[in-house]
């Protein structure tokens, strides 16, 4: 019994903190093999990249916890980004640009959410369709033309506060909001519940449909913020921007311990997951392994993270 309890404890510890160890090992490896890895310039640079996928990872995390997923977020960024830039160029107000990006993102994600909740489409399929729609609309709206003159929009990305790039504050702000939702709002409990066991959630008096739609809307809000960060970072509105960003975001969430079977996931894990993805890509770049090799590595890591999650689960099920 004691041995079993000890083993269980080690299990939880490795599940909880294993990812931090991975992150630290990565940092040590990076510092040891390259001279430029642990420099302020490199780190701020990576953090700026992480901000976009990190915010998206938070969105995917909420959805995966609730038992869903969204494969359209990259295209949602592109579409809402084009409108946001147009709005900015028309009014000159960053606030308007912000609001436009967020409203459009929430709108599109909520539609996916409604299809998933009301018509019971698997979110995988519904959002895949939405990916085509959003990307197609984006090309239709722009005629495939990029806008490179977007004035001061890019300042959002290049401004520093206390020596730290502004996007990082947005990222951390989003993380705090997600933490509050998951840990301090009834909505968070409902999200965990419907992802963990939707039958039991329904039988416990939780409105599963409404919770699903709200989760998608929340993911939309986060995507809107990611949109602004992305447009500012590349300092132009390109219709094929942010392609497959949801892939990186899902990877970050899953590496951070979000369980694909739903009901499990934390903001801290997601933050670390995003950092691992960002710094790993950066390190591979620095040691001269190009983007093709990075794709292979990313894929392998996603497979590994998912397998660890599943193996843990199978073990626990077998015990019962």
């Amino acid at each position: 019994m004691d041995k079993k309890a000890w083993k269980q404890r080690m299990d939880t510890i490795s599940r909880k903190y294993g990812i931090f160890v991975v992150f630290i090992v990565l940092i040590i490896l990076g510092t040891a093999t390259t001279g430029s890895f642990l420099t302020a310039k490199n780190i701020t640079n990576v953090l700026r990249q992480i901000a976009v996928t990190g915010v998206l990872a938070l969105a995917e995390m909420l959805l995966i916890i609730s038992g869903n997923i969204d494969l359209s977020l990259g295209s949602v960024i592109a579409l809402s980004g084009m409108f946001s830039v147009s709005a900015y160029l028309a009014t000159g107000s960053l606030l308007v640009a912000f609001v436009v990006a967020i409203v459009i993102s929430i709108f599109i994600c909520s539609i996916s959410g409604i299809f998933v909740a009301k018509i019971k489409l698997p979110s995988f399929i519904a959002t895949m369709a939405m990916d085509y729609i959003a990307r197609g609309l984006c090309y239709l709206y722009t005629g495939g033309q990029a806008t490179y003159e977007i004035g001061d929009y890019g300042k959002i990305s290049t401004t520093y506060v206390a020596g730290i790039p502004l996007p990082i504050f947005f990222f951390l702000g989003c993380a705090v909001i997600c933490w509050i939702i998951l840990n301090r709002l009834p909505l968070g409990r409902n999200i965990y519940a419907i992802g963990g066991n939707s039958d039991a959630a329904k039988a416990s008096g939780i409105n599963v449909n409404m919770t699903t739609i709200k989760t998608f809307a929340m993911a939309g809000l986060l995507t809107g913020i990611a949109t602004v960060l992305q447009i500012a970072r590349v300092n132009s509105a390109i219709p094929n921007t942010a392609e497959n960003y949801h892939g990186d975001a899902i990877a970050a969430a899953v590496i951070g311990g979000t369980s694909f079977t739903g009901g499990i996931g934390t903001v801290t894990g997601c933050l670390v997951g995003a950092c691992i993805m960002g710094f790993l890509g950066n390190w591979l770049n620095l040691i001269g392994l190009g983007s093709y090799f990075q794709m292979v590595t990313k894929g392998c890591i996603i497979l590994m993270a998912l397998s660890i999650d599943m193996l843990g689960k199978n073990k626990r099920i077998k015990k019962k």
Binding site: A5, P186, N197, G262
Partner: protein
Amino acid sequence: MSSEYKIRFESISMEFPGVLALDQVSFGIRQGSVHVMMGENGAGKSTLMKILNGTHVPTSGKFYIDEREMKFQTTLNAEKQGVSMIYQELNYIPDMSVERYLMLCREPKKGPFIDWKGVHKEAKKILEEENLNYDPKITLRNLSVSDIQLLEITREIKRNQVEILIMDEPTSALTNAEVERLFRDIKALKERGITIIYISHKMDEIFRIADDITVMRDGKHIHTGPASEFTQDSLVKMMVGREITNVYPKEKIPLGETLLEVEGLNSEFSKLSDINFKVHAGEIVGLGGLMGAGRTETVRAICGLDPYESGKIRIQGKEVRIKSVTEAIKHGIVMASEDRRRYGLILCRDIRENISLSSLKRITKKGFLQIGRERKLTREYFDELKIKAPGMGTATLTLSGGNQQKVVLGKCLMTQAKVLILDEPTRGIDVGAKYEIYKLITELAKQGIGIIFISSELPEFIGMCDTAYVMYKGKIIDQISRDKMTQENIVMLAAGGKIDG
């Protein structure tokens, strides 16, 4: 001497973790007879049949078919010996067509390919022989449950190599006319020399078709004999004749006001008609009957999980229309489901979150969860229910059945419900935890909560209930007060019989 037996069981025992499902069972089944197996839920009939068809391998003991010892490892082994089983719960693929379903796994072939024309022809022939007027091309989705049940039976009996056919409550989904047809089929099979083992709870059916009857109880073989030896009464006595060893912590509690009143409840969805009953404060009301008689369906409708078309539900005299679980909880009705892993718990989350799940309003202030208050409140239930766990942060997945059930009860109690519905609250939990749950039920009744209690275990049902409504085929057929509540009476009513007075 034993050559007349088609099947012979010799000291079969079957142990599942913590449960002795079969205890030294020995008896024989005669060649070409219709052999009825009787016993309460959990008596071990189904387990024994699953040994015969290769699903389970017995812990000890032997069994023989045609006096040859059989050692089945899988159902395929059993099928090769001509053993076939029709399950009580239907397993089918809704989008499969009738002809493909009928010919599944024995399709005529042309070389390595399935001869679909042959399948069609063969299936059509079978349907005509059986007077079943289905289009062989339509999918099972379009058929009723009883149609599919009938098709499954047809499919099994048309298999040529069948020598032993096990039917587990085959009539539970059939209408009267269909039952007649099934009985004709059974007779025809008997003439072909096939041995039929028939599990049923329905008295009238049993005496119509049985050659021999075997009664089992608590995993033990009680008696086997020709049907003419038995009467309804003697059967019932044998089935329930155990000593009541558990003492139930039942207390006499004066009844309070009427908390819940159900009047003329009808539901097409759950096949319920004209359900009427009342629950008073401090009263433990039993809903009795066999599985599938409508007990669970009734309480699911009342607590907002399933829809109902007509009928009135009054709570403390006020009429309410319950459309969702949220509304039921708001009105003070809450249910602990029979299937706690599916409907009770979020297994991957911890005890604290599970207990507070239905009562988040109680711990929310200005839209935010008050975690401190949540900890305090859930801790009270955790302590009161004596949940055994390392702490409140333990995932409910890792708890034992009894402790999982306590978490579910904690969740129900935290809603401060007036009416608590307990559907098989002691299923699958150990004796000690059962007793604690009985004590808790009594305690709650003392606090003035009205309790609806569903249980298939008659001793605890009788031990705990103040009054019982017995259901049969979606109807309440009688109400029995505590002084008339005997196992015999309840079994008789549940099987569709009548009791005196």
